[in-house]
């Protein structure tokens, strides 16, 4: 029996295709690279959750490194994330802004009343105007904004102790040192 390269061709093609597809399976299609990194935080003019008459804009936000956290009273994972945000707020390591996304004002307020409010200011975004501008796909989602109002990092999902210690805090510390 003669072993020629030609005879092995189908097997080689099969293996190559299999490898390529297997590699594709390991990728999470929900993890999208953020388009917004190093872009200025989008312009917005939305009301404060607690003060329906006062309009918050970018001007209220710039000047310091800020963690912007997208949440909603309907968001189950936000329940899980909430204690970590409370801990961060108590430690005072960073200014945390909230975006109450696709929510009703009363429900949002009640949710925070029951759990505590870790946010300095909360932007009320019932119609996803700012959230779509930010390219948000789900809650919770967090952005790190630098002193100049540029988006420097985006984290999709819950902020766990590990993610805070290994990723978010180093980014914030570097930015604070720069500024």
């Amino acid at each position: 029996m003669k072993f020629t390269l030609k005879g092995f061709l189908p097997l080689i093609i099969f293996l190559a295709l299999g490898a390529a597809l297997a590699l594709g399976l390991t990728k999470d299609p929900r993890l999208m690279p953020s388009q917004m990194i190093d872009k200025p935080f989008p312009e917005f003019a939305l009301t404060d959750l607690y003060e329906p008459d006062s309009i918050l804009t970018n001007a209220d936000m710039t000047g310091q490194v800020t963690l912007v956290n997208v949440f909603g009273s309907w968001c189950v994972s936000c329940n899980v994330e909430h204690p970590k945000l409370m801990q961060l707020a108590r430690s005072g390591s960073v200014d945390i802004w909230g975006i109450d996304w696709r929510d009703e004002r009363e429900k949002g307020k009640n949710w925070l009343a029951a759990r505590g409010n870790p946010y300095t200011r909360i932007i009320f975004d019932p119609d996803s105007v700012l959230s779509i501008d930010l390219g948000v796909t789900g809650a919770p989602e967090s952005f790190i904004i630098d002193q100049q109002g540029q988006i420097r990092y985006k984290h999709v999902g819950i902020i766990t102790d590990d993610i805070w210690d290994d990723i978010l805090w180093p980014v914030i510390a570097t930015l604070e040192a720069e500024g």
Partner: protein, 161 residues
């Protein structure tokens, strides 16, 4: 004189009103029907980012609903379909476009099928053009001839019996 000035001012005021009314009517040339058709058109080429493989036009996800709303608002504001698609692409990346753009990282996706087709057509053409060759017949060696003779004579004797 004062009265004359007032009249002139009044006239200007009227003119201004007419002109803004005219501008508005120009703007309104985009009928609701048109906005709807274009919005749905754009919606069909935008992926609902939370439901993997649906367009925002066919998705029930709340975020898709909000995206449809924003598409309508932008079209109403006079943006072209391309502007709206660009707006979404700038925020959600190429992923949001159901039809992937032709660019460096999608060349393989777009052109591989044609390359493969071309290769196989060429290969097939080569096979067809190859002239059918007459099989080369080598004469039997002496040993083989003897063996053959033995076999044939055996069968003939078998038959005779």
């Amino acid at each position: 004189m004062k009265r004359f000035v007032l009249h002139v001012l009044f006239g200007f005021g009227l003119l201004l009103q007419f002109s803004t009314a005219y501008a508005q009517s120009q703007n309104r040339s985009l009928s609701e029907q048109e906005i709807e058709t274009r919005a749905r058109d754009v919606g069909r080429s935008l992926r609902c980012v939370v439901c993997q493989n649906q367009s925002i036009d066919e998705s029930d996800a709340p975020l898709a609903g909000d995206m449809r709303q924003i598409v309508r608002t932008q079209i109403r504001a006079g943006k072209s379909n391309e502007d709206v698609l660009d707006f979404m692409q700038n925020r959600y990346g190429d992923y949001v476009l159901l039809k992937p753009p032709v660019q460096r990282n999608t060349y393989v996706l777009w052109f591989a099928p044609f390359v493969i087709l071309f290769v196989f057509v060429m290969w097939y053409a080569l096979v067809l053009r190859r002239k059918p060759q007459a099989p080369v017949v080598e004469p039997l060696s002496n040993d083989e001839r003897e063996h053959f003779n033995n076999l044939t004579s055996e069968t003939s004797t078998d038959k005779a019996l």
